[in-house]
């Protein structure tokens, strides 16, 4: 009887520890990614950092795309909603804003094809707050803006779009 109870318990623990490990891995790695992104800037969360197209020296994030220029922001909605806005590069340049929850889920994407006016403004909020256009599943996460750099001389156009990005906390 004790042996049977032991086997059942062991099986239950096997499944539980397997599921728990899978559940914890994305959260731990996202925390690491957030810390690494925060460490390359000194202003804390809710501020965009504008990078260049990654080379072999960029090892903060796995599988970087060498053809993309990234602007990244670790967000924290503790202080209020977040309004992210800016201008897009001219037509022909792929552009997207993607939002990632604390468990790595890519819960929102907006790309240039959806923005014929070549500008954007989104409000990010937690569930239950007013005037939210996008609800973040978690208090913290990462906002990533990607732009394809087709040629080296595209950089000034891309940098102009990067410099236009604003990220403001709206007190709730």
């Amino acid at each position: 009887m004790m042996l049977l109870a032991g086997l059942v318990t062991a099986l239950a623990l096997f499944m539980l520890s397997y599921r728990l490990t899978l559940y914890r891995v994305p959260i731990k790695l996202m925390e690491g990614a957030e810390q690494r992104l925060l460490s390359i800037r000194s202003t804390g969360p809710n501020t965009f950092h504008h990078g260049r197209a990654p080379t072999h020296k960029a090892r903060q994030i796995v599988m970087p795309s060498p053809d993309l220029v990234y602007s990244s922001c670790v967000y924290d909605l503790a202080a209020g909603d977040l309004v992210i806005s800016g201008l897009l590069p001219p037509e022909g340049y792929y552009w997207s804003l993607s939002l990632y929850a604390h468990n790595t889920d890519n819960y929102f994407v907006l790309n240039d094809r959806e923005l014929p006016a070549r500008s954007f403004s989104v409000t990010l909020s937690l569930r239950g707050r007013k005037a939210a256009s996008i609800v973040s599943p978690t208090r913290t996460g990462i906002a990533l803006i990607r732009m394809i750099q087709r040629r080296p001389d595209d950089l000034p156009v891309i940098q102009a779009a990067q410099q236009s990005i604003r990220c403001e906390v709206v007190k709730t």
Binding site: M2, F14, T21, P26, V62, D105, Y107, R113
Partner: protein
């Protein structure tokens, strides 16, 4: 005395079983997470290539979410970008920088596409040329639209991905803004072949 001994043995067995169960679950998870593909219903295998149809999605299973976090964190969901991975050639040979390889195929039904080569740590590979990717803007295609991309250490002066001194290689295809047809049936995407070639044959 015999009864006490039985109880002690029983408790020891119970403790061993419980510990084995808990540790076994962690070990199985770690084993399955060591690879970015395999034994996952979210994945689709097409020849040497694998794609995960729920990468980045909130609907992904726990294994997909954990694998993407390890091997491709901050991936876009499939409506925005579809990723295909290959770590072996068409015959199952693991891709390494010890050999040269060629990829032959045609373009894709999407807005923009790229081939990128990564090392065993899923990072870009150091090379003097900084030739990290071949994409729809810089590929040199034949008049019929086909192309040939060479993976090698040296520069063969063609569509080329530098393999440097990486122990293991992984090729990633990205399809940005895939067409509705591709989104409807990812198994219908005509993916390129990957073959090993003799060293030095690259420029042929």
């Amino acid at each position: 005395m015999a009864m006490i001994w039985d109880v002690v043995v029983g408790v020891v067995i119970l403790v061993v079983l419980v510990a084995a169960g808990a540790i076994g679950g962690v070990l199985l998870a770690r084993h399955r997470l060591a690879s970015n593909v395999g034994d996952n219903p979210d994945e689709v295998r097409i020849g040497a290539w694998t794609t995960n149809t729920l990468a980045g999605s909130s609907a992904a299973n726990a294994l997909t979410r954990a694998r993407i976090a390890i091997h491709g964190i901050l991936a876009l969901h499939r409506q925005e970008t579809i990723y295909f991975f290959a770590s072996q050639d068409d015959h199952g040979n693991p891709l390494t920088s010890e050999h040269d390889w060629e990829i032959e195929g045609r373009g894709f039904d999407c807005r923009w596409w790229s081939f990128t080569l990564y090392d065993e740590d899923y990072q870009l590979i150091e090379s003097l040329s900084r030739r990290y990717s071949v994409h729809s803007d810089n590929v040199v295609a034949e008049p019929d639209g086909s192309y040939r991309i060479v993976i090698s250490r040296g520069n063969p002066d063609t569509n080329w991905l530098a393999s440097g001194n990486a122990k293991r290689l992984m090729v990633t295809i990205r399809l940005y803004n895939p067409s509705p047809a591709v989104l409807d049936d990812v198994t219908g995407v005509a993916l390129p072949s990957i073959r090993r070639i003799e060293k030095g044959r690259a420029a042929a």
